[in-house]
């Protein structure tokens, strides 16, 4: 199949950006979206033009590195699918595709389709963990955890940290990412001791970097891992409790 791509090119963080048009020709419907881009890049190199920089690594939908806005949709048209797992059979011959980087104030552009998502690490550093020193843990089966609880924690922990939720949000809010981590740890017995400190710390840092949530729900629709928006409600509840509890204890 043949496609026309309109791709955001930007030489560096402070350089002005613009759309450039490229043709992707003779693309197999079995190739992945990123293989299509590899192909276009090979062509660019051949004619002496710098290849398009884009983010990717595992190409299996798990590392969370990839992410492109395709025709205004974070990770493109397929549901619950990261950009790297999109296949060309989701598109048709002759399609015109507009490719842009994640756009959000919390994710400054580095180059072309590549953005800086370091703010996510800052959120995790503010309590997105359970404090336990190496070699100090009791036997793993000491505390039984109901299967439903473990499954719930796993549902939340499946987040890959790609940032599509932020990119899809008109406000550039990071509630879904933050809530998923908080829910994973706050539901487990091991996570109780630091529950409210964690919640307050992470939410406050999140607000430093990202916009505010107005319940648009775009995040859930864009999320490649199907992270549920319900986690946000739980986070908000814990945050309110945290505010009053932490105030009392300080």
């Amino acid at each position: 199949m043949n496609l026309t791509l309109r791709v955001w090119r930007q030489a560096g963080p402070d350089a002005p950006g613009r759309f450039e048009t490229y043709q992707a020709t003779d693309i197999s419907e079995h190739s992945s979206f990123l293989e299509m881009l590899d192909n276009v890049n090979e062509g660019l190199i051949e004619v002496g033009e710098e290849p398009i920089e884009f983010m990717h690594d595992c190409r299996e939908g798990i590392c969370g590195t990839c992410g492109i806005m395709i025709n205004g949709q974070a990770h493109g048209p397929a549901q619950s699918t990261a950009t790297c797992q999109l296949h060309m059979r989701s598109f048709s011959d002759g399609d015109e595709l507009v490719l842009e980087p994640w756009r959000a104030s919390g994710f400054p552009i580095i180059k072309d389709l590549v953005v800086d998502r370091a703010a996510f690490d800052r959120i995790i550093e503010e309590g997105g963990y359970i404090t336990v020193d190496t070699a100090s843990a009791p036997d793993a089966n000491l505390i039984p955890i109901p299967k439903e609880t473990a499954d719930f924690a796993m549902d939340a922990a499946a987040c890959i940290g790609c940032g599509a939720c932020v990119a899809a949000c008109p406000n550039g809010a990071a509630q879904l990412f933050t809530a998923a981590k908080i829910a994973h740890l706050n539901v487990l017995p091991q996570g109780q001791a630091e529950r409210y400190q964690r919640t307050e710390g992470m939410v406050d840092v999140m607000e430093e970097y990202f916009g505010s949530c107005t319940n648009m729900g775009e995040c859930e629709a864009a999320c490649p891992k199907g992270i549920s928006i319900d986690f946000i409600a739980t986070m908000n509840k814990d945050y309110r409790k945290a505010k009053s509890q932490n105030r009392r204890s300080s």
């Binding site: 192909n39 969370g64 955890i145 299967k147 796993m154």
Partner: protein, 639 residues
């Protein structure tokens, strides 16, 4: 040729590690902060080591070329992690895990290391559960297990099909806690491009900031590489796109010996490639072999759809050839068996390059929901890639390069032949011999990082108390930095005609054809003449556009591919001198009448460790003898 000293202490294997921990030197708590440690890599090995050393009070600086520590390739591991907990009372024990791992490795690993690995495996599970890793559980709330290839007990802990992700997030979160505590500094987007050696000891590293292009120098009292494996020398593999050998290779060029480079693992269950634009292969977890049955049609000219082929016209070749292990035969054996049937023309799929992995029986027996609960995300992944629904039609799979058992040679302390330079995780050669069993790489990475290295590094550092680290203005740092800059300039000024990827693909083809699932003297010699020729072409004809002072992924790849060329040559050389078949190394000249690998214990019960001499074609060979006193050397049988 020298015989290497592995520094394994004397004593009974059961208490070796505990006794040794007691006899190693310690750095007292208040002195730890006087030591700087560099760690390269934030995979399971690097992140767990950094978090633990930070907790202990060392000043740790950890580098990754990824944009976040959480992106390391470990994240992609699907199936699970082994431990000898024996929670199911099915007869597991530390000794059995040790025994299975040595046997699975085809008797080419170091007993003392493997025993220690099996011992600490249980601590890993405790540690990870305490961190909140959401392992799968049974209805009673206790931890669930599954079976993996090469074992007859259920000892594999898992978190859906995302075990690596959850373990890595656990280690990443432990690391984040230390960042917050101020003991660890994480430097992202930083690629290590050289190790600096001063007075025979590792003094630090040179890095390039992948976003700004800035080259910088870092020094420390000890340096640790947890930089992963080198499967991508084959171009197509199941590894993430950026996995590479550069850190290990540049350490090798500075004096660290490289052990058993030819030992590569071909995983039996990946999705077959679909066309020539294929950029990587996707693994379908080995856990699928718990319930999936592998077969091909008897008739090479079979045209019926899988479901229409009656039982009598199917060959369940693993169950037939290896009745006691069946579909759970170890990886090397399962992979070669698939190659044999596909080479006979019995392959399935449009390119006839796969075999069936069929869940029809399992769905009939357990019901669709139970199968979905266990493997749902893997099935979804398969469907996304192939457009076929594995609940209705069998999966098609084929072996793919997956893991590299070879790596930097390390002693019992995980120290390389450069004092002060340690290697952990897949980057070292240590525990898997000639073939790694499933679910044991995650175990090894975390064992090294959480439970072994933190002790052995202390033993190295203790005598250096009061000594400052080397100043980064030392001439050795100047020279290393100059070398790095010269290579980058060289790539940008070659202005040739072909892309880096083109060369990488060509190299990959040579490696797969001659140093892949089967190797022969003739083929390896051919590779040894083709690789240098292609490398010369790469040096004169590669086209790297753009500049050095910005994000430039072609430039990054050029450096990595340059190292793959030299490594590829060493792999072929290593495969050529190892005149036996062992595990993942199959020499066609050395097989039994039934086509099984034929070891030569009299002449090859050793590790081959190569020393860089400045000329890729002429490395020096060294050996470490392998003694088997606790496991009896025997021919592996999975029949």
């Amino acid at each position: 040729m020298t015989v290497l000293d592995n520094k394994v202490p004397d004593g009974p294997i059961e208490s070796l590690w505990d006794d040794h921990k007691f006899s190693m030197k310690l750095v007292n708590p208040s002195n730890k902060r006087k030591f700087d440690i560099i760690i390269v890599g934030t995979g399971l090995a690097g992140a767990s080591a950094a978090a633990t050393l930070g907790e202990l009070g060392y000043r740790v600086k950890v580098f990754t070329f990824h944009d976040s520590p959480r992106r390391a390739h470990s994240i992609a591991a699907q199936g699970g992690i082994n431990a000898a907990k024996n929670y199911h009372g099915d007869g597991d024990s530390v000794f059995r895990l040790f025994y299975d791992t040595v046997k699975g490795g085809d008797y080419r690993s170091r007993e003392a290391n493997v025993y220690r690995l099996a011992q600490v495996s249980n601590n890993i599970i405790d540690q990870c559960v305490a961190q909140g890793v959401p392992f799968a559980r049974e209805y009673g709330g206790l931890l669930d297990n599954r079976s993996f290839g090469g074992a007859q007990v259920s000892r594999t802990f898992y978190a859906r099909g995302q075990t690596g992700q959850q373990l890595l997030l656990g280690a990443y979160q432990a690391l984040a806690r230390q960042v917050k505590a101020g003991t660890v500094e994480v430097v992202t987007n930083a690629e290590m491009l050289d190790v600096v050696v001063v007075d025979g000891r590792a003094a630090g590293i040179i890095t390039r900031d992948l976003v700004t292009g800035e080259i910088s120098r870092h020094s420390a009292h000890a340096t640790v590489l947890g930089t992963g494996g080198y499967s991508n020398v084959f171009y197509l593999s199941t590894n993430a796109m950026t996995c590479n050998v550069t850190a290990a290779w540049r350490a090798h060029r500075k004096g660290a010996f490289f052990a058993n480079p030819a030992y590569t693992q071909i995983h039996p269950t990946a999705i077959p490639s679909s066309d020539e634009f294929q950029s990587k292969l996707t693994l379908m977890s080995e856990s699928l072999r718990n319930d999936g049955r592998i077969w091909v049609p008897n008739d090479p000219d079979e045209t019926r759809a899988a479901a229409d082929i009656p039982e009598s016209d199917r060959d369940y070749y693993l169950e037939r050839r290896y009745p006691s292990f069946g579909n759970l035969a170890p990886r090397d054996i399962s992979s070669r068996a698939a190659k044999i049937v596909v080479d006979e023309g019995k392959g399935v799929g449009p390119l006839k390059n796969g075999v069936y992995l069929d869940f029809a029986d399992a769905i009939g027996r357990l019901g669709r929901d139970a199968v979905a609960d266990k493997y749902g995300n893997l099935f979804d992944m398969y469907e996304r890639i192939t457009g076929e629904n594995p609940y209705d039609v069998p999966m098609r799979i084929y072996p793919a390069v997956h893991y590299t058992m070879g790596g930097l040679w390390v002693d019992y302390h995980l120290q390389t032949t450069i004092p002060g330079l340690f290697a952990i995780g897949e980057a070292n050669f240590s525990d898997h011999g000639a073939n790694r069993l499933g679910a044991s790489a995650l175990m090894q990475g975390l064992a090294d990082g959480y439970f072994v290295l933190p002790h052995t590094v202390g033993d190295y550092l203790a005598p250096q108390l009061g000594q400052p680290k080397v100043d980064t203005s030392a001439p050795e740092f100047d020279a290393a930095e100059e070398g790095v800059r010269a290579q980058i300039d060289g790539f940008l000024h070659t202005k040739g005609t072909r892309s880096v990827d083109w060369f990488h693909r060509e190299l990959g083809k040579i490696m797969w054809d001659y140093c892949g699932m089967e190797r022969s003297k003739v083929g390896l010699e051919k590779a040894l003449s083709e690789i240098p020729a292609l490398r010369a072409e790469f040096e004169s004809d590669v086209r790297v556009l753009g500049a050095a002072d910005t994000l430039n992924s072609s430039l990054e790849k050029a450096g990595r591919v340059a190292d793959f060329f030299e490594l590829g040559e060493l792999m072929c050389k290593d495969a050529l001198v190892r005149e036996e078949s062992a595990g993942g190394h199959f020499r066609v000249e050395h097989q039994t009448d039934e086509g099984e690998a034929l070891r030569d214990d009299d002449n090859f019960a050793h590790v081959t460790a190569w020393e860089w001499t400045g000329t890729p074609a002429e490395p020096n060979e060294h050996r470490e003898a392998l003694d088997f006193t606790n496991v009896k050397l025997s021919t592996r049988s999975y029949k």
